[in-house]
Symmetry: C2
């Protein structure tokens, strides 16, 4: 196989992410079937390109005409989404290539992740790809998402996907499916490009990272990989991308048992993580160690900047949190430094004298004396102005008895101090916290249900800041 030059690679991926036309091969009229869900997803997201459908039965599906064969299609459609079984794949790809359809998403599983006969199919598939010159995403993937084009190849029911600046490259199709549903319903931020690599017989993480590095719509990049196909090339690409964009990686299959699960999942042979760990650090990639951080850290960056340093101030309605969250900050590489004298004076102004105000900010007494909005608002603004502070976390405590405040002052502070991230977390009455989180996140202030989460996220962002500076 001759090596494609980078310009050609970018061109081929462009048709995955910005197609002007797409054909669903294996289109189905049956709700819930992949060949039907993918059409509904395209329609729900308002894809403006032309949608073609192929099914030997013909007729009409979801209001669109169905072609009975690939040969009936016009030439040079930008992209094909194939939802047929594994065994039908080779012939379909040849038919596509013959019609000039060179970018193909393969949903089918049943390849190397299953058994030797699946592995043989995968070898045949590889041969077909080389012979035809098509580019393939998959097989064994839920597909991909490209919100700047209102486009998705996912066969997992998604509905309207919110658009944002966070992009994902994941071994699993999960992020174009179940995890995206979680993000949409629980975390309230939008995505830009999402690609499930699956068995990555052709398009791999290095191709995609290269594309996203140059993508003006993508501000931060999150990867979940169960193996790295070409580590040298990947590191080379990453070294360039991470100079400009925060880039995070969760490696799956790092334990022996996890590696065995990865083999069953996407036929991945996990690399020895001790060997690649140093290389990742050198390439400026920030490692994650929890799946949930793939969306919690993403949320933090979706609407707030990367903190300029590791110095945190936080407001707490309980002395126990000032103690425990300070411990946590220190354990993840953050500082909870002294604040400026004028900041301390302002905090003391709004507090009963029996509390000695400092950082972290014990806000309970002030709230009892004044009000939630006044005390949190004044104290947050004081520490946001402080030159010793890079990020601010507000731990809120809302109950029926305190009453539910307006959170608009927090949204306003976030707008007036855009250089410093503000995160919110909670302890108290669950229903109020749930409502506060949803409201704040709809207005671009990230909120976290458990009190440790924003501090853990800040620790990861601090590692990212250092990785990007090569520290």
């Amino acid at each position: 196989m001759t090596r494609r030059n980078p310009a050609q690679t970018a061109h081929h991926l462009e048709k995955f992410f910005s197609p002007k036309s797409v054909v669903v091969i294996g289109a189905s009229a049956t709700p819930g079937k992949p060949g039907n869900v993918v059409i509904r997803n395209l329609q729900a997201n308002g894809f403006e390109g032309k949608i073609y459908l192929v099914n030997p039965r013909g007729g009409e599906i979801e209001g669109l005409k169905v072609h009975t064969s690939i040969t009936d299609l016009p030439d040079n459609i930008d992209q094909a989404i194939i939802t047929l079984p594994a065994a039908a794949t080779m012939e379909t790809i040849r038919d596509c290539a013959a019609k000039g359809i060179m970018s193909i998403v393969l949903a089918a599983s049943g390849f190397a992740e299953v058994d030797p006969s699946g592995a043989q199919l995968q070898a045949d598939l590889k041969k077909t790809i080389m012979e035809t010159g098509v580019r393939v995403l998959g097989p064994n993937t839920t597909g991909h998402v490209s919100m700047p084009s209102n486009f998705t190849s996912s066969f997992f029911p998604l509905g309207r996907i919110p658009r944002g600046n966070v992009s994902y490259i994941t071994q699993t199709g999960n992020f174009s499916g179940i995890s995206l549903r979680h993000i949409m319903s629980a975390e309230n931020f939008g995505v830009c490009r999402v690609a499930g690599l699956g068995n990555k017989i052709d398009v791999d993480e290095a191709d995609l990272l290269d594309y996203l590095g140059q993508d003006p719509e993508t501000k931060s990049i999150f990867l979940y990989l169960e193996g790295i196909k070409n580590p040298q090339r990947f590191m080379r690409v990453a070294s360039k991308v991470t100079r400009k964009k925060p880039t995070f990686l969760l490696m799956g299959g790092v334990s022996n048992a996890g590696a065995s699960a990865a083999l069953a999942h996407t036929a991945s042979l996990a690399s020895d993580e001790r060997i690649i760990d140093g290389a990742l650090a050198q390439a400026g990639i920030t490692r994650l160690f929890k799946y949930s951080h793939l969306f919690q850290v993403a949320k933090a960056l979706a609407c707030m900047p990367l903190p300029a340093g590791n110095r945190v101030s936080f407001l707490s309605p309980s002395g126990a949190f000032t103690v425990c969250m300070t411990d946590l900050c220190l354990s993840v590489g953050l500082e909870v430094p002294d604040i400026e004298d004028k900041t301390r004076a302002r905090l003391q102004d709004i507090s009963p004298s029996f509390i000695r105000m400092r950082n972290p900010v014990d806000i309970f007494g002030s709230v009892a004396l004044h009000s939630f909005e006044f005390s949190y608002g004044e104290a947050m603004e004081a520490v946001l102005k402080d030159k010793n502070i890079d990020a601010v976390v507000a731990i809120l405590m809302i109950t029926d008895e305190t009453g539910v405040p307006s959170y608009d002052f927090i949204i306003d502070l976030a707008k007036r101090y855009p250089a410093k991230p503000i995160y919110v977390t909670f302890m108290g009455q669950h229903n109020h916290n749930v409502a506060a989180k949803a409201y704040l996140e709809r207005h671009d202030v990230p909120a976290f249900m458990l009190v440790e989460e924003p501090f853990e996220v800040l620790g990861i962002l601090n590692r990212c800041r250092m990785a990007m500076k090569g520290e």
Copy 2:
């Protein structure tokens, strides 16, 4: 001060936790004031003992007669809750002692945690306690809770507190306040005894641990401490208690900055944790490192047994979770072992042949072929029966399109396999997950919003099992 013998100590704490009568000194008619909230809390929880009130203004509060002075009270009331300012404390304690009231909760802050004059007040308080022989919980505490007696001294609005078998000993009053509200509204388990130590001028963690160790209502014990007053006595008591009851400790103030916050919070001088770490292990205490684990681990034990071993099986609707959660299990000391041949055969029976069933259980294909309830139910029962498995986690994926199943089969399995813990977690559509969690927890199946949480909890429970066996 003469040392009280253990029997006498137990007797004194008995009046804290099972009082037949209580007097609120500083009773207030003003809603929201501590001296009013404590009365409402007692009434809301149906305390059946006699409630006396003292306020120089007399009259009636919350339907109860108010005595104008302590001297007007009958003799030998079991317990006094004093909600007066710090400066009034000494005289009030002497008046209580004169009337035979020997168990006293001191809510006031403004002692050693604040400044030198507060430290002087605390020294005077200590002298008064020694001279009168009263036992004091506090000062600087939100109070305590004792649900077997439907009793609380908390001045944080709580309403009706659910009764359970988990008990807390915490430096902070928080667990009789804001954290208890979180538990009640977000975690859905009941508590037995909760004591906020505050500045622990008299009653300390060793006294309480000794009491809870003998308390037939308490099944597991969680401590949050910012310092250990008498480490040798505490370890001696713990060595006995941990033979029978799972006992967990989060130490606050372990970082230098955290220690400084602890000094400001409860005037605690945090011990050097490296010195006590070995001693805690030897005493059979399981250390926690996150505040949220104080309720997440508690919830896991509130209605499920401690697992008999470290061997976990889990059901996943995504290959990515089989990989990542296996990695996580291994990293926290759990195994994800091979299952028995007959279990594997049963799993293969209910699955499409293109998925090779194993542990962890990739359940997605089976659900697509059968139904959520059938596939999860059969697979969970198969692994629950397996002699290689000690605990089972089900990762659910519910969306509008899958439909919302009945979760009763999980509740039924929990009843039929009481020797093995079952936990539930989620990925998918948030609103369904929230509803599922609430329903399952109301029926004694612990559920966790983030997918890592049950595995992290199982890792901690495994450390607990080993600590209790002296491993």
